[in-house]
């Protein structure tokens, strides 16, 4: 049983990312269940900004709902199961359709890459998973089982983020607060990159500057500072 604070934090993360427009009617955030290897918590199929504590459900390592009292889970829970399986250090995941990254998920010309310090996690190019590569050109593009989830996790590899062609992205982190910060930084980084492309000559980070991925020094950012700020914006600090 995951403690109440983790559940509350998961609900808040969903609501924050909904409020900030990273998630809309769709998308979801999960957190690993530290007490049961591979298990994780994810809400019932409801828009993230609307989820409540009673919507939090438990899933096993292959995405099967445990209990749940007839609640309907998200079809794409296998994204979470497969990424937790492949990445032991990852403890929180956000799947989103953020509008700012979607053009990069279909572009064959431009890759999403780091333009600002807060998007250093993009490195010199974010991978793009194309469901058609392994599962053909007639799917409905949803990640409907573990085989598809594992294929996605393989494209993610050791990276923080992978895009999904024509669909969205998956953001990984080592905590719920960090997945919120990273999802917001993903959006900021994508928007900065799009904007700079319309301004003419660029002085953005070179490939050499981005290999290997530079990281911000410890303490340069604070997930807790972000958390307090975004809780406030979403009205969640005024119960």
């Amino acid at each position: 049983m995951v403690d109440l604070d983790t559940r509350r934090e998961l609900v808040a993360a969903n609501r924050i990312l909904g409020h900030e427009g990273i998630l809309d009617a769709f998308g979801h955030v999960s957190v690993r269940d530290r007490d049961h290897p591979g298990h994780f918590l994810l809400c019932r199929a409801r828009s993230p900004e609307n989820v409540e504590l009673s919507d939090v459900l438990e899933f096993d390592a292959v995405g099967t709902l445990i209990g749940g009292d007839g609640a309907i889970p998200y079809v794409e829970r296998f994204i979470h199961a497969a990424v937790y399986e492949a990445r032991p250090e990852v403890t929180a995941i956000c799947h989103n359709h953020a509008l700012s990254v979607l053009p990069f998920s279909v572009s064959r010309t431009v890759r999403l890459r780091s333009t600002i310090n807060r998007s250093l996690m993009f490195g010199d190019g974010v991978p793009v998973w194309d469901i058609a590569d392994q599962f053909g050109e007639s799917t409905d593009m949803l990640v409907r089982d573990m085989a598809q989830g594992r294929s996605l996790a393989a494209t993610l590899g050791p990276e923080v983020i992978t895009l999904m062609r024509g669909h969205g992205s998956v953001v990984t982190a080592t905590g719920v607060r960090q997945v919120v910060t990273r999802s917001l930084n993903m959006d900021l980084g994508a928007r900065a990159q799009l904007a700079v492309m319309t301004l003419g000559e660029q002085r953005t980070f070179t490939d050499a500057e981005l290999r290997p991925h530079p990281v911000l020094p410890a303490g340069a950012t604070s997930d807790d500072r972000d958390w307090e700020y975004y809780l406030h914006r979403a009205g969640l600090d005024r119960d």
């Binding site: 809309d24 010309t109 050109e137 024509g166």
Partner: protein, 241 residues
């Protein structure tokens, strides 16, 4: 309104408010649903001429299959109600219709680049949304508005078996089985148009493969996702406390 149940009237008023709130519709545009109990006759419900975000249940009127009021009233009516009448007449599968001037899709209504599915939530658009050009269909009598049933029927023919058609230099029509499905489709359409336009500016891009697009003629069961989105959008529009 004798055939109308309060539930469908409420839903239609909500669909108006949602699409207005999300910026799919502005001061103009409208959304209708088939009149309950009309048994496929083509009778439908539509608001009196009012900006969609302001529509209330009491604004909803019932129209004949020809697009005229069932019960005479003095309320001003949308001139373009024939869009709805003509589509219901030829598409028994359609239960709701939206006509919009959504900014994101307008460039595609006058561009040689076809609006097409590039994101999975907009699988319904297909490999190329048709563009209906009133000037081409009715040479010599160009009209900026679909102000007759004949114009509506021509537009319905361009829509064919699809879920969306653009009106050149004007807007679009989106159809679905329910107001919920139309709301989901309209919001996804705007996002798809934004993503496609942006990706186009970046260079080459991969749209959805034809097999990834939705087969409008053989739809699956009604999508639970539509109800999820409906709750989300209704709350945003202030319809759920």
């Amino acid at each position: 309104m004798t055939h109308s149940t309060p539930a469908i009237v409420r839903e239609l008023a909500d669909a108006n408010r949602i699409l207005g709130h999300e910026g799919i519709l502005d001061a103009y545009g409208h959304v209708s649903t088939r009149a309950p109990g009309a048994d496929g006759s083509g009778a439908f419900l539509l608001s009196r001429a009012r900006a969609p975000e302001l529509v209330e249940e009491s604004d909803i009127l019932e129209f004949t299959p020809q697009g005229e009021l069932v019960t005479p009233a003095t309320a001003p009516l949308y001139i373009e109600r024939y869009i709805h009448a003509a589509i219901y007449a030829v598409r028994p599968d359609v239960g709701a219709v939206c006509h919009s001037h959504t900014p994101a899709i307008l460039p595609f209504s006058v561009s040689a680049t076809a609006l097409r599915s590039v994101i999975h939530t907009a699988r319904f658009i297909g490999p190329a949304a048709p563009v209906w050009d009133i000037a081409r269909e009715f040479p010599g009598e160009w009209s900026p508005l679909v102000r007759t049933y004949a114009y509506g029927a021509s537009l319905a023919a361009a829509l064919g078996d699809g879920a969306i058609a653009l009106l050149r230099g004007h807007g679009c029509v989106v159809v679905g089985r329910t107001p919920q499905e139309v709301v989901t489709r309209c919001t996804a359409m705007a996002k798809n148009a934004h993503v496609q336009e942006t990706a186009h500016r970046l260079g080459e891009y991969t749209p959805l493969h034809p097999g990834e697009c939705e087969d409008i003629r053989n739809p699956g069961p009604p999508q639970a996702a539509d109800n999820r989105a409906w709750e989300y959008y209704l709350r945003r529009a202030g319809g759920i406390p």
